[in-house]
Symmetry: C2
Subunit: 218 residues, 2 copies
DNA sequence: CAATTGATCAATAAATCTATTGACAACTAG
DNA sequence: CTAGTTGTCAATAGATTTATTGATCAATTG
């Protein structure tokens, strides 16, 4: 009549997923994979971890079925297992940002100068594009842009931006987006553009937030 | 220019939340608190853990700000910190149930005999109540019912049910619900009622799923 | 087929986590 | 104030997790 035997086998399964989320390293990997699938080596380079270490963390994520793999010749490509995993990650992040004062404090401490307060909301963005009033630039690395991007966006990786300023319109407003709420690329791009006399603002959130809300993408 | 210093301090904060979700014991506590706030002793009794052990797990949850406390005389009442925490827990559970085949296998293994396939969806429930076509019973412990329950539900704790059969209608259909998808109380109640000749089905999901969807409650 | 590239595996030491035990602190009631 | 109840804290031993190192494996290239 007690349900203990059931619970004793059920909760460890849930905890397997929880355990996968219990390391800052793994969360960083998950966050990168939320942008686009990647090879192990690329993940290691971006996170400044050893390949072996990344590989082991990926095994933990795979054991919890949060990521999947696909061989591509001599390389192995990892990707999120599905949109529900993205939801879970954003849900965890949202709890942390709402509950832990340290998160807000940290974003304040690392805030980029000269960005301004204004942000374009995701709800407003579509109308602005349709009206042709703005130019939307994706300042993430091209690999991530190629994997998927907001409709109408132009790829303008952060490191290429300084050399491509003359291709940008002075009259139309420029909206920049990147990897999401905690990514600084868009802030830095906006700050640079404003210094150069452009009318630039950042989008609230980035690619993962857009996808998680089920909005159209290219 | 590298964002590493920022990331190196940001992700450990997210991982603090992840770590809180990394233990089957803590997830069980969280699941109970999703039903209603509770005292430490009650949690220990229900989970068959020592009070000291429960207390320590609760400190971890509190450190991640997933739960909050309130003193009540000599006792301490713990509760979920907010609806976002409930969302996170259900999101994790949903990933586990979609991704881990073992979960489906386990629920099959512990399935209650004589429940039947039919379930009432949460979307359909309101209309059925309004039409007066069904009786809705909440088979959770009374403490949880008192903390909040579905509109129109009658408290009928699982252990009292056998002695209160004559208070139930033979003509109207009876819909039972409990702590949620993985709680067996409703299944057992339905099986009992059907053996006794009642027309009974269970609700899809339970109290937490209802609340998480923002539906009206009493 | 040998050499190279990319990723995993195995072993290990350091760090962290867990359950248990018993002591202690906060509060209530008499 | 004292005794009793409830919960937390501190210490500890056993288990688990982590990063590192070097070996191994799989696929491609010469």
């Amino acid at each position: 009549m007690s349900h203990r035997p059931f619970k004793q086998r059920l909760y460890p399964l849930f905890a397997r997923v929880g355990h996968a989320l219990a390391s800052d390293r793994r969360l960083e990997l998950l966050d990168l994979l939320a942008q686009s699938p990647r090879h192990v080596e690329a993940l290691a380079a971006e996170t400044e971890m050893s390949v072996a270490s990344v590989s082991q963390h990926l095994q933990v994520l795979r054991n919890a079925h949060l990521v999947e793999t696909e061989r591509e010749g001599t390389k192995v490509r990892y990707r999120l297992a599905g949109d529900d995993v993205l939801q879970l990650w954003l849900s965890l992040r949202s709890v942390a940002e709402r509950r832990l004062a340290e998160v807000a404090q940290l974003t304040r401490e690392f805030a980029v100068e000269g960005v301004g307060e204004a942000e374009v909301s995701r709800d407003d963005l579509q109308a602005l594009i349709d009206q042709g009033k703005i130019m939307l630039i994706d300042v993430r690395p091209r690999l991530e842009f190629d994997n998927g991007h907001l409709p109408g966006a132009v790829s303008m990786p952060a490191d290429e931006l300084p050399g491509r300023l003359e291709t940008l319109p002075k009259r139309r407003r420029i909206v920049a987006y990147c990897r999401g709420t905690y990514c600084l690329f868009a802030d830095e791009a906006v700050a640079l553009l404003r210094r150069e006399g452009f009318d630039a603002v950042r989008l609230d959130g980035g690619w993962p937030e857009w996808v998680a809300e089920g909005r159209a993408a290219e």
